[in-house]
Symmetry: C2
Subunit: 356 residues, 2 copies
Amino acid sequence: MYEKKDKKPSETKSGLTSLAELGEFGLIDRLTRDVRHYHPDTLKGIGDDAAVIDAGDKVILLSTDLLVEGIHFDLTYMPFKHLGYKAAVVNISDIAAMNGIPKQMTVSLAVSSRFSAEALDELYAGVVMACNKYKVDLVGGDTSSNVKGLMISVSIIGEAKKEDVVYRSGAMPGDLICVTGDLGSAYIGLLILEREKSVFQVDPNMQPELSGFDYQIGRQLRPEARTDIRNLLIGTGVKPTSMIDISDGLASEVLHICKQSNTGCRLFEAKIPIDEYTKELAKEYKIIPSVAALSGGEDYELLFTVKQDDYEKIKDVAGISIIGHMTALSEGKYMITPDGKSIPVIAQGWDGMRAK
Amino acid sequence: MYEKKDKKPSETKSGLTSLAELGEFGLIDRLTRDVRHYHPDTLKGIGDDAAVIDAGDKVILLSTDLLVEGIHFDLTYMPFKHLGYKAAVVNISDIAAMNGIPKQMTVSLAVSSRFSAEALDELYAGVVMACNKYKVDLVGGDTSSNVKGLMISVSIIGEAKKEDVVYRSGAMPGDLICVTGDLGSAYIGLLILEREKSVFQVDPNMQPELSGFDYQIGRQLRPEARTDIRNLLIGTGVKPTSMIDISDGLASEVLHICKQSNTGCRLFEAKIPIDEYTKELAKEYKIIPSVAALSGGEDYELLFTVKQDDYEKIKDVAGISIIGHMTALSEGKYMITPDGKSIPVIAQGWDGMRAK
């Protein structure tokens, strides 16, 4: 939903405003400035993980995501089945980020003639596998030729009780910032795959060296959506005050919550959960591990805030880390390093990631 | 929703099944054969203009359509604003085809760096214009870079009372086949635009000769969705037994209704409504006018069936033509010519259209 980062910046075009100049979020703000709503049942439009539509005793959640070949995936190392699975999962994750239950999905494909029906069989097998795992009904879509490459567009409907929906906008100063699972491994997995691709391009007889990196590569090629967190939180008696899924990286997502909630934040670098081997690999690639978590993206974990009063309920829950707290807007958005330095939290994009 | 015809056939690929061999509908049948539903509120999945989801006292309708540059539109003659308008309208039309009311829409774009923000402003101005006209709330979407060209993916939510929804599957032998407006002009408009494009390519100093063809070009570049038909039919006291919108051409759509309703049909060629000047232009292009209606597509009129008992109620309604009737499946699918010949109704696609 209107928040995927472009991995390839656009070129400047003389006389006119280039898309690179605006950035994706600037472009969205610009394009949607004249949007008005006619229906009082549209409770939330643009600006969250999903739109929220009133449906009597419950709400309908609607989200959509594009995956474009050469931008979001590379078929050199992405098997079709994984691609279908991931396309479904990134949408299911958007519903999880609203504290909703995924229900129905449409999958549209634009595909050039270089693809065979067997390749698309595999792609759909992956979609259907995800639908079976997450109990989502595939209810429609559209297929089209494409001049070049493969493009997948998925839309998803979820539902929730009105009082259960969690928006990005509900965080208050003092709320604790929590994250599920661990971060940064999907990005390290991507770096490993890119490295083996370069080796293969130089010498096609080389076998890719992927063994030992199962966790990192799995996080990149076959992410899961944290639909389990909804029930986990119900079990603890905690309702998040705000929530978002981590598709673009921790930094970008925490800034979305700050913007929508009109707050600042403090993240504690030492508290960011990162797999130990991922930390080692990050160093091999000369990347500060926390930077892989902050800017890598595609982990599809959930970032959420809870009231400080809920600290006792949440502090010992396995698989949830408290990594900071919200502040007043005037206090800014900073990460505190182990030696006490304050570093501004910035959504870096994919190019500014490597440690100097 | 899973029924746009590819205008560019794919090439055969040795050893594997080519997409061209299967055709779009064969491909969809193949890809979705393992789909199962988990949610009893999924009343209708794949196989109609929209999916139908139970929401208590009403139903939610969900549809999605792709528009791909070089396949569905040509920016040589399609202004961005019209393109945005059309992308919205073709989706709104899917909701009209279910006898529903369009409510919320998402618009996703994949766009290469050759496009400026100003071009996308125009595109969105067209989307917003359609949303304002049809009272649809733009509630989200996704934006992405594209390696080449422009792709638009729209998803739409509509609503209806459960008892008001009209499916493709409800027609019975003896039901009257009706169509709104007139057919074939959008295709003739496309031929005029393609001709002027060829002229321009030969001699860029030539001005395109488009005056006098406003109706045909307007039908192609800026179609409208027949959301007015729902109220018109309520006024006459008639509820259609089946309905579909005409995106691919009358032949393809009537065959969808026959397939889903398990019936045959008789169309009467002389009854097919075609604009008089469109008939003349079709002859200039050596096309039988009824073939432009049967196979041209993109008119976005509604095709529907009504009970024979409703004949008196519907026969004099302005803007609705009775063009035939449904039959038992065993009687086949035929069009009857003015001189009494029976011609099989076949979904031809775009290449088999020219009269010999």
